[in-house]
């Protein structure tokens, strides 16, 4: 979707403000937001791609106003309501509906270390051979899906070179919407700054992106 989250190449969003000796969490609720998101994710009701899509689906003006963990909590509430783990009324009231059945959490304290260490690898075996090889010139497609995609707007319809083949990976455009993992080849693609930003761009600069095969044509 062409949302405000896809902000690569924009100007005017303000100065970068690095903070000296920044704490890991600025307030305790941020730590809770992180932990709740990971712990609730262990139910397996949504994928990482679906959670990214939930965050980018926050209306643009709100998205730009919200802090990172506010986006996380907003998306978590939406995902839990959408998948039936909680109801909107429960979130609004903070209390379980009458007669609720108490569940057993899938992620217990003893399992946290193993779960974090395992992560969620997205590499998958491929049924067919990859279409492109390292060194080949490719052109990204000019696609504008209304759903989730990981091809940023600034890099659509641009020519680059395959610099590395990552093998098969889960395809987010499908996986975010419950259409299955549909793994396909993922490539590292180098695009020169001038190709992206025009003749005034820094001649000694290039962008590297990881690009799924469905986003590419032969140049």
């Amino acid at each position: 979707m062409n949302g405000v989250h896809d902000m690569g190449g924009m100007h005017g969003l303000g100065p970068i403000a690095p903070e000296a000796d920044e704490p890991i969490f600025h307030e305790r609720w941020e730590a809770s937001a992180l932990a709740l998101t990971l712990a609730a994710g262990a139910w397996g009701r949504w994928t990482l791609d679906a959670s990214r899509h939930a965050r980018e689906s926050i209306p643009g003006p709100e998205y730009l106003r919200m802090s990172y963990y506010e986006k996380w909590i907003t998306a978590l509430e939406a995902l839990m309501i959408d998948t039936g783990l909680v109801t909107a009324d429960e979130v609004a009231s903070g209390a379980p509906a009458a007669g609720f059945a108490r569940a057993a959490p899938p992620l217990t304290a003893e399992r946290v270390a193993a779960a974090m260490a395992a992560g969620g690898p997205t590499d998958r075996p491929l049924g067919a051979a990859a279409r492109f090889a390292v060194g080949e010139a490719v052109r990204t497609r000019n696609i504008n899906p209304v759903g989730h995609t990981r091809l940023p707007r600034y890099a659509r319809g641009r020519t680059g070179v395959i610099t590395r083949a990552h093998g098969g990976h889960v395809f987010p455009d499908a996986n975010a919407h419950g259409r299955g993992e549909r793994p396909q080849p993922l490539y590292q693609v180098r695009i020169e700054a001038a190709e992206l930003w025009g003749p005034d761009a820094d001649a000694r600069s290039a962008i590297y992106l990881d690009v799924w095969e469905d986003y590419l044509d032969r140049a």
Partner: protein, 191 residues
């Protein structure tokens, strides 16, 4: 926000959807166990052990796992080396993808709109906002983390550190130098 999150947490605990002890364990992991010291150890090893550097180039995920680091948001790693000819900078323009397993949780500026928007169109200007000036004849490579591949910058080893121990070298490697907005050096350790 504090009240809203507290209400959600008590709802989820009461419904048995999350285990409060698991929440504490997750927070403890990212406050005390996983952080940029992990990445600094990888860099220091790469600086001192040519065979390790070769393995890091070949398969960074496996080489980093040798030191005991991996898992969530570090499942698929690529190491990018700064050289006298090339400087690397990491961003995620679409969200805030970041190599948690070696750097911990990302700082606010990395997740902010100003950094995400401008790192790809004006990397030298962005680096200058951190006080980092990369010479004009050095190529700048910006890594936009659009998939589940996570990028770790291997900064250049500072001059005058010949014969230093791995621990001493690791203390020179800041978080920012492993994102690409700083060089490794004396001011390293903290951030």
């Amino acid at each position: 926000m504090a009240l809203r999150v507290k209400a959600l947490q008590s709802l989820l605990v009461e419904k048995g959807l999350v285990d409060p002890a698991a929440l504490d364990a997750i927070i403890d992991t990212y406050e005390h166990k996983v952080g940029p010291r992990n990445g600094a150890r990888v860099v220091a090893r790469a600086w001192t052990d040519a065979a390790y550097l070769a393995r890091l180039r070949q398969d960074a995920t496996a080489a980093i796992a040798e030191l005991g680091y991996g898992g969530r948001q570090g499942e698929h790693m690529v190491a990018v080396e700064n050289t006298p000819e090339t400087h690397n900078l990491v961003v995620c323009t679409l969200c805030s993808c970041y190599p948690w397993s070696v750097l911990g949780l990302p700082p606010v500026w990395y997740k902010s709109s100003p950094y995400r928007s401008r790192a790809v169109i004006d990397p030298r200007g962005v680096m200058a906002e951190f006080g980092l000036v990369v010479p004009e004849d050095v190529e700048v490579r910006v890594w936009d983390s659009t998939a589940e591949i996570r990028y770790l910058v291997i900064p250049q080893r500072p001059a005058g550190t010949e014969g230093w121990s791995e621990d001493a070298l690791a203390s020179l490697v800041s978080r920012d130098s492993m994102i690409g907005v700083a060089f490794a050096g004396a001011s390293g350790a903290g951030s």
